[in-house]
Symmetry: D2
Subunit: 404 residues, 4 copies
């Protein structure tokens, strides 16, 4: 029997993790089609990507919890999926619980520390010891489940921004890791470090720093590991990067682009805190100048509206100047279930990371830019061009596999 | 002194013509920048396109009227441009009045016949005689103004659809033109015929048939004339062709896409009539299947709301299925001044047609697909790809001109 | 033990009936609060209204079906309520099935005939025989369940408009009822006739004619029965009657008010048919002139969008003129679950009709105007004033009951 | 010849003042109808209100400026009114310039101090001396123009909130006024004080404190002067107070009501500053609990979007719970020209204040509650009920004048 692939989720009790695990199980059981999975569009089906039924889940979280309960609550609260079908999937989901380990809140910010398990807060470790502990958790998961490999993916809530610049080189980083705590290193970086220690691919789905620093990029190369991020592009920003190029192509001048995001999930709760919101808003805000070539008046706000749960509503107001300086406008209203938008991209990224790893690729996977608000190492925000990069990569590999 | 280019507008008393003439004069006078002109984006500036100040206007209309009054009323009614600057442009605009001739309402539909000048309705001519009259009007315009060439552009209101299929070959067409009236031929085709008789490029900015029939395409080739159409893509459909590809790229299934257009200009008044609305709605409706590869539930309506004048408001509701069949939605609201969206594209198409003609190109100018809802002779509705076609054409010609 | 109240629903397999029965059972079981019930606001709680747990359901339908399955499907398709709680209510709901009888499609229109049970179509009866059959069905229901009384409420799909004017007097009506079929009488009128024969109150929740004709009003008075209608005001029109008075109060001139309704329930399916849509749109359209005192440009459309199911989305665009003739606008977007908006009003009307009947009132219950788009016998469309009528009625009765 | 009424505007170079003066002049000249004026609805025409042509304008400002230029720029920037008609009104408008005096920035906040005239900042006066200076300016205006009386109305930008509570009694206030500067008194209070010194009615159109403190209310009574405020209800809040009662009347539970206001006028520019925004947002925010009887999750934001100028766009998202706890939503989008919404209310309030004064009324004019976001001295936010208060007042006075 073919070996299976491990998926190690940072933040496994969160809503995106719930939707991801539920999705993989439901699709494998034939309860749902593959809508939403980019890796299932015809162009990508040419690649020999792993089947979803070959995924084995485990992960870290900073809270105590239950994966089944998280999924059950998610379905009930957000009126998605079919609760009656969930019972069939229950035994399979409950098995995952054995592969959950306590994570790290190192330098994450108060909003996260506040919800973390007490035991975790009392751990006295150097950052390196934390990384080793995490690394060992993942290795044990691999061994226990007899897995071919493991992909590490960060789905945890947005950390606060580090107060100091990250280590600029791998040597500096190694040195800094000996400290018990560092203003230059956050938990998402420690997880990336741990993944690289093991030679496992790492994807940062969140606005946190993850593997984006020069030092960690260096580490990935030296370990021969592929990795990518940051901050998956699921909704309002996706539309932004689809729509904004039109203004360039039609020579219309964007005067103002104001975006308002309302959501009530735990992501929203954490993002209430200014220091956690910062990186998120910077990613959302930077795409416009990158596309337009100038900086219009622009604001992005995220407001926590508990009654909405995971159902994000975004309103964007775009005020632009047309012929003879005539002011006109476009507004759009986006109503989507946030984690249901994220989850298929998580599965896509796992499959693409596994494929890259299997093909011996290492370092930044810039062909995955279309999945991210802030694609590391590439200055391309036009969505259609980002998508072209993916298609080119696929075509190259599909051709090669046919040639063989 | 360099010779100037004639622009012969079918429907010269209409709102799009008003905005076009006003725009050309205002920009030439330095009263406004070139926002909205695609031919002014950096990529296209490499081509040696004609300056707007080199354009001389004339045209046909089926109504009596006054160009200056049309423009004056347009500005007042729609609260655009600066009425105080208009006085400076007045003498130059009034001169155009000498180059206006009565047009043709042949088989146009009752809504148009109803507003036509009586004298015009009493003309007893064969279709060929009408074409010759039109052709002579244009030639006289060219001669009188000592013009290098003339571009004919159809900006008239949407005709009804012809009740019978158009002639299938040039021979059939020539034969049919001898009749005094034909259910197979509409006025927009006669204008195209007349343009081709003179060897003048023809652009059909409207949903009318224009030069799209096989017979007229044949005539264009045999006369060595470039031409293109149909139905300029200015607003709601533009957004549609920008947004719809995203659903394919993200594997999201569009279940329903309902579009509502409210406008109060004369275009709207004519489109109240079912038989005039038909072609328009077909063009608007056909883009979705062309992009998505399947046909979602979809409706497009155009309602005449007089108080809006030229300010079109469109609301589109897009209901789509995401991961695990979760229904989500996007709505957009588009508020634009219709003729101010159209006018810069008119000027762009004139410049591009002149450039093609100068370069000896003939037949369909498919590289201009991005300007049209229903680009003749090419099956490409993704806006980003249509734009790529234009850029490729430009790059080829820009390179060539550098090589020379 | 106190006797219970019968609720006889015309259209008992429909979605509004499903939501009504589900609601009554769920609230009685303590699964849900009373949100949405007007009869539960503090002002109305002073009345001694019947408890929801005292309602016994039965009814007619023209289709074969199953009440439990209708409710189950309704919950699943529209992602409302909690499917897990439904199982507890199941036995109680399934009991209702014994009290369902075949209805009448007399002169209802093709869209309804098309979905009717074949057996029903083959019945050869005079209209009077149909009324007697219906009347007997209801009497048997009362007897079998030992009920105090029965309220008849019409929740069936909108009929087509009758092609001829209804009988003008009770004598004419009685005579017309002897015919096997009549262009002047539709099924909703026959049901009202049957209810009045028995002396049972009748509520017309639909745009169909129901009891609104002079002849049936006369019959109600002579039988001493209270009744009311037409066309419950649940969503877009509700907002209209709340918002439109403001334009009068602030002396702002509505130039255009365009409303678009998208829905995918069986109501929407029937309303696709022009002849069924007519009455509905007339009711929706007539409120504006009634409130504003003049007739602005106005359109109301209802489009069937299957993917929406019972989730109606309405967009209204209001273009108004302010100070110095400055044009401004308000748009609203209404997203509600149609039958969940209707069901509490059904329960409210049953309770209020029972109360009126118990108090010996007969004829039109105009104090219920706030529940209807087209309140019979009263020319008041301002919602706040309609609500005042209700409150005055309640205060009068609450005072009286205290005085006693 | 009948004596005319003086209108003394605080903030006479501002946009609301521009629109007010323009409106009074344009309507008097017959250039425009009276749309937007509440005092012109049939019910109010029964009162013998002053004609607009009988108003003579003057006022204070903290900036140097020109009334004609303000109006000219306002029309140009916001594409309202007819610039060609303005020239006719010019001489009449320019005459007002003679009646403009430098105002006070006492304790107004830095955003206002920053734009004030330097000379003004250098004045060394006690608050009482400032009040006396202002009072004398107004008296001189009255004398010079031989006016029957003067109404003082505050249209200046929102001040910062005072850091300390205002004087609690008239004695305390008089004492505090001897100081050169006081944390308890802001400029808007000084203007009210000055108006009351002269026995002139005072209207506070702004969110600033104005005459709302107990001490100033006491002063108004002792001087026999009518006055009212605060914060005129022109747009988004107006809709809120029209719409929110419906949720109570229909027993629907508002879970969240989130409002976003975008505007680019000088009001918007000042409101960028947190300390100036506070009072405004408190007024906007307090209406919901006042109407609903409970406090839903609710946010109101005001963002400065310069390209919009005076054209405010507001988006409100209302998430509510219906029957069986089903979540539904209403959104509205309001696009109005802010000062054009305010100006007619300014004229209404001037006329109503003059009427009250003429009728010997003094103290709070609570029948004007419908004009304000935060109507002083009355706890009524339902717009329909506020309007009823006005109508009752009018009916009482109209009847009395008929009786006489």
């Amino acid at each position: 029997m073919e070996k299976q692939l491990g998926v190690w989720i940072i933040g496994i009790y969160g809503e995106v993790a719930s939707a991801t695990i539920l999705g993989a199980k439901a699709i494998s059981a034939g309860f749902s089609g593959t809508t939403g999975l980019v890796t299932e569009i015809p162009a990508l089906k040419e690649l020999q990507l792993l089947s979803l039924s070959g995924l084995v889940f485990g992960g870290h979280d900073i809270r105590k919890g239950s994966i089944f309960k998280s999924i059950y609550d998610y379905i009930k609260n957000n009126r998605v999926f079919d609760i009656e079908q969930l019972s069939t999937l229950r035994p399979d989901i409950e098995k995952i619980e054995n592969s959950v380990c306590p994570g790290s809140v190192s330098n994450c910010g108060e909003a996260l520390t506040a919800i973390a398990d007490n035991m975790l807060l009392q751990k006295k470790e150097s950052l390196y010891e934390t990384a080793s502990r995490i690394s060992n958790d993942i290795l044990k998961f691999k061994r226990t489940n007899n897995l071919a490999s493991v992909i590490v993916i960060n789905l945890a809530s947005a950390e606060q921004e580090a107060s100091e610049l990250p280590p600029a080189s791998l040597d500096e980083l190694h040195a800094e890791m000996q400290k018990p705590v560092s203003g230059r290193i956050t938990a998402s970086m420690i997880y990336a470090y741990a993944a690289f220690m093991n030679g496992f691919p790492y994807i940062n789905f969140t606005p946190s720093a993850g593997s984006s620093s020069a030092a960690l990029q260096e580490f990935a190369i030296s370990q021969g590991v592929p990795h990518y991020g940051n901050d998956a592009k699921t909704g309002e920003t996706l539309i932004k990067t689809v729509l904004a190029p039109m203004f360039v192509q039609r020579n219309l001048e964007v005067m103002s682009w104001e975006g308002y995001n309302l959501l009530g999930n735990s992501d929203g709760r954490i993002l209430q805190h200014e220091e956690h919101k910062k990186a998120k808003l910077r990613h959302k805000g930077s795409v416009l100048p990158g596309i337009l070539g100038y900086t219009p008046h622009s604001g992005v706000s995220i407001d926590y509206v508990p009654s909405l749960g995971d159902w994000k509503t975004a309103w964007d107001f775009i005020h632009f100047k047309g012929f003879l300086d005539t002011p006109m406008s476009i507004q759009f209203i986006w109503q989507g279930c946030d984690s249901m938008l994220a989850a298929p991209l998580v599965l896509d990224l796992i499959r693409m990371a596994e494929f890259a790893s299997r093909n011996g690729e290492k370092g930044l996977l810039t062909h995955l830019a279309c999945f991210f608000k802030n694609p590391i190492g590439i200055d391309e925000h036009w969505f259609s061009r980002q998508h072209e990069l993916l298609i080119k990569y696929v075509n190259k590999h599909a051709k090669r596999s046919k040639d063989e």
